[in-house]
């Protein structure tokens, strides 16, 4: 059990690719931290630097307070679970799990006992004498977990361990991994590109983009107070509505422009965000989560209204996701992955309505906005305007 400290960790690959750029993060003992970000953002590289599988180009790494920057992976007391499980195909499950103990010269009796106990935690007892080739994907995944657990290391590292499983099994294994991690209380760094996985599993989530750490916070903070446009657009599904806007501060209220329409914010809003005064009548990026957009027909307790036309409806049973054309200019949060997949019908404004809503495609409707939950960003730097 140990803390992990990344101090301006940088990786420059031969050829000059700066995969991780001055990443600083302090992970507490027993904490479950998730690295998340789009493909190629440097998550794996950052994790592999902690593991010692990649040399650290610049910066300092500490595990349990001891500097580990140049220490051999074997001496870092870490265990890693790989995306493709990396089991030893010629060894039985029992021997796979026992392998690190065998190398550590753990006495036979203790070794057997620990393997047995690990197998019980992971419900693998009946497969101990099979080889990995005769296991299902989920079982292999658990063997890989077992090989990490059995060592009782101070840190677990996992690089997309669930990405080869089907959706249902993935959800199950998510909770399994969380449960095991809580039971063992081992500091864990978990890499994924799936923000839902990150939000459901992590005590804290570190969002990376282009090798730069954007924000590391508890999931709820990340969701409520994204520190920049990228995080705002990346976290949450459906993504936050982000559009070009401007404000004009009047005597009684602040007027926020939404395309041709506008909404009013109380002046008290400025007390919390005095910095907003500097943006009076200047271009600005505005964001509001689909959850804070309500179908006005259902009489939500919010007064500010905007009109829009329903373009697409996704009826999910428990809720209805409505893509609306309200005449705003959408802002790309630079999350290329989601931009690629949603471009075709991205109207820049999505509402998540309760199932009682009776809106239909093509309807011109009125939506109510919870203005208290509105976000503003500097359009040049992308930073949230919050102070």
């Amino acid at each position: 059990m140990a803390t992990v400290e990344l101090e301006a960790l940088t990786k420059i690959y031969p050829g000059g690719v700066k995969a991780v750029n001055a990443m600083s993060l302090s992970i507490e003992d027993g904490e479950f931290v998730v690295f998340v970000g789009p493909s190629g953002c440097g998550k794996s590289t950052a994790l592999r630097m902690v593991a010692g599988l990649e040399e650290i180009s610049e910066g300092v790494l500490r595990i349990g307070g001891n500097e580990m920057t140049k220490v051999h992976p074997r001496q870092r007391d870490i265990a890693m679970v790989f995306q493709n499980y990396a089991l030893y195909p010629h060894l039985t499950v029992r021997k796979n799990i026992a392998y690190p103990l065998k190398l550590a010269k753990v006495p036979k009796a203790e070794m057997q006992e620990r393997v047995q106990r690990t197998a019980e935690i992971l419900q693998l007892s009946e497969y101990l004498d099979r080889k990995p080739g005769a296991l299902s994907g989920g079982q292999r995944q658990r063997v890989a977990m077992g090989r990490a657990i059995v060592r009782e290391p101070s840190v677990f590292l996992m690089d997309e361990p669930l990405s080869n499983l089907d959706a249902k099994l993935r959800v199950y294994m998510r909770s399994e991994i969380s449960r095991i991690q809580r039971e063992l209380g081992v500091t864990t760094i978990y890499v994924t590109h799936d923000q839902v996985e990150a939000m459901t599993m992590g005590d804290r989530v570190a969002v990376l983009k282009g090798g730069v750490l954007q924000q590391a916070d508890e999931p709820s903070v990340l969701y409520r107070e994204p520190s920049n446009l990228f995080v705002a657009g990346f976290i949450g599904s459906p993504a936050m509505n982000l559009f070009e806007s401007s404000i004009s501060i009047g005597d009684e209220s602040i007027s926020v422009e939404l395309g041709q329409q506008s909404i009013e914010l109380p002046l008290s809003y400025l007390d919390e965000r005095p910095a907003l005064r500097a943006y009076d009548r200047a271009p600005l990026a505005c964001g509001i989560r689909p959850d804070d957009v309500y179908d006005a027909a259902l009489a939500p307790p919010f007064e500010q209204r905007v009109h829009g036309q329903v373009v697409i409806l996704e009826e999910l049973g428990s809720e209805i996701v409505a893509h609306l054309d309200v005449g705003v200019t959408r802002i790309d949060s630079a999350d290329s992955a989601s931009a690629d997949t949603e471009d075709d019908f991205d109207t820049g404004f999505i509402g998540r309505f309760a199932q009682q809503s009776t809106v239909g495609v093509g309807d011109r409707i009125e939506v109510a906005l919870d203005v208290g939950a509105i976000h503003f960003f500097d359009p040049a730097t992308g930073k949230a305007i919050r102070s």
Partner: protein
């Protein structure tokens, strides 16, 4: 009810099983014919060797072309093994025994030489292949291609230099002399194994590294067992090649007690003035010499074929 039954029947006739079977049958028949023809062509030399080995030398020279042994006798095999009496020799050979050698001694030489070469070559080739596939060192790929270009040097080019070297080492007529040129890796073996090692997932090795294994442990504990199929293939191919090697032992091993079977069998063709070659003895000896290889192939052949298909070579 009847409707469903009808439909099932229709389904059956739609596939026309008899027609399909017939077509398949013709294709299969042709394939079998070709296979049988190939089998006969490749097995015929063995049969001819056996037939000649079981014949009496004198009758052979009478020009008997029968497919069966002429003047059947098993004396030739006894002669080769050195268990024949004078009378038996005279009977089967038609004269005094001239070309004879200690079969068991040569068998021993062949086994020692082929085993040593196989162990050495496979071990060193595997280690070199692993280094070329995985270790990071300066000029690795250039070195590998330089090494591969060794494939293009005909073995005959190195015969004389090697001979001079072995002679200067004082290794003529000795096991080290016969084994040395083949003991370390060959470009082909290194290339063959490197291709396979490159295909092994890097994650497995990284897992081993994190589990606490060093390079040697990873290599012998993980990589080698994971590559047992190609390594077995290579071992068998190497063993057969070493067993059949003729030219090199012929030049370095003049002493009869250091001659492997391939060289020693030459005794039978050594003609004495006024006599003809001892064909039946030669064939009997050749068959006996090939026997160990045939046995090895029968046991491991399947694995070799599987692995060659698997690694995509040839």
């Amino acid at each position: 009810m009847t409707n469903i039954a009808d439909r099932i029947e229709n389904l059956g006739s739609a596939m026309e099983p008899s027609a399909r079977l017939r077509r398949l049958g013709i294709g299969r028949g042709a394939a079998w014919l070709i296979l049988i023809a190939i089998l006969i062509v490749s097995l015929f030399p063995f049969w001819w060797a056996l037939r000649t080995g079981l014949s009496t030398n004198g009758r052979l020279f009478a020009g008997d072309q029968s497919l069966l042994p002429v003047g059947y006798t098993d004396n030739n095999f006894e002669r080769v093994l050195g268990t024949a009496t004078e009378a038996e020799i005279l009977e089967s050979l038609g004269r005094e025994n001239t070309g004879s050698f200690d079969f068991l001694q040569s068998l021993k030489v062949s086994v020692i030489v082929a085993t040593a070469i196989t162990v050495g070559q496979v071990l060193f080739s595997a280690m070199a292949a692993y280094a070329f596939a995985r270790l990071k060192f300066w000029g690795r790929d250039k070195l590998f291609f330089l090494f591969l270009s060794g494939l293009m040097i005909p073995p005959i080019f190195t015969l004389i230099p090697n001979l001079v070297l072995v002679k200067n080492l004082g290794w003529l007529n000795s096991y080290p002399g016969i084994i040395a040129p083949f003991f370390f890796m060959t470009p082909f073996a290194v290339f063959f194994l490197r291709q396979f090692f490159l295909g092994i997932s890097r994650e497995v090795e990284e897992a081993a590294l994190l589990d606490g294994a060093g390079h040697f442990r990873t290599f012998f504990g993980i990589i080698v067992p994971m590559s047992s199929a190609p390594i077995a293939t290579l071992s068998i191919l190497t063993y057969i090649t070493a067993w059949n090697e003729f030219l090199w032992p012929l030049v370095v091993a003049r002493a009869p007690e250091r001659q492997p079977l391939t060289v020693a069998l030459g005794q039978f063709t050594a003609q004495q003035p006024g006599t003809s070659p001892d064909w039946s003895g030669l064939m009997a000896g050749t068959l006996l010499a090939a026997l160990p290889i045939i046995v090895i192939f029968m046991i491991f052949g399947r694995k070799v074929v599987d692995s060659i298909g698997f690694s995509g070579i040839k």
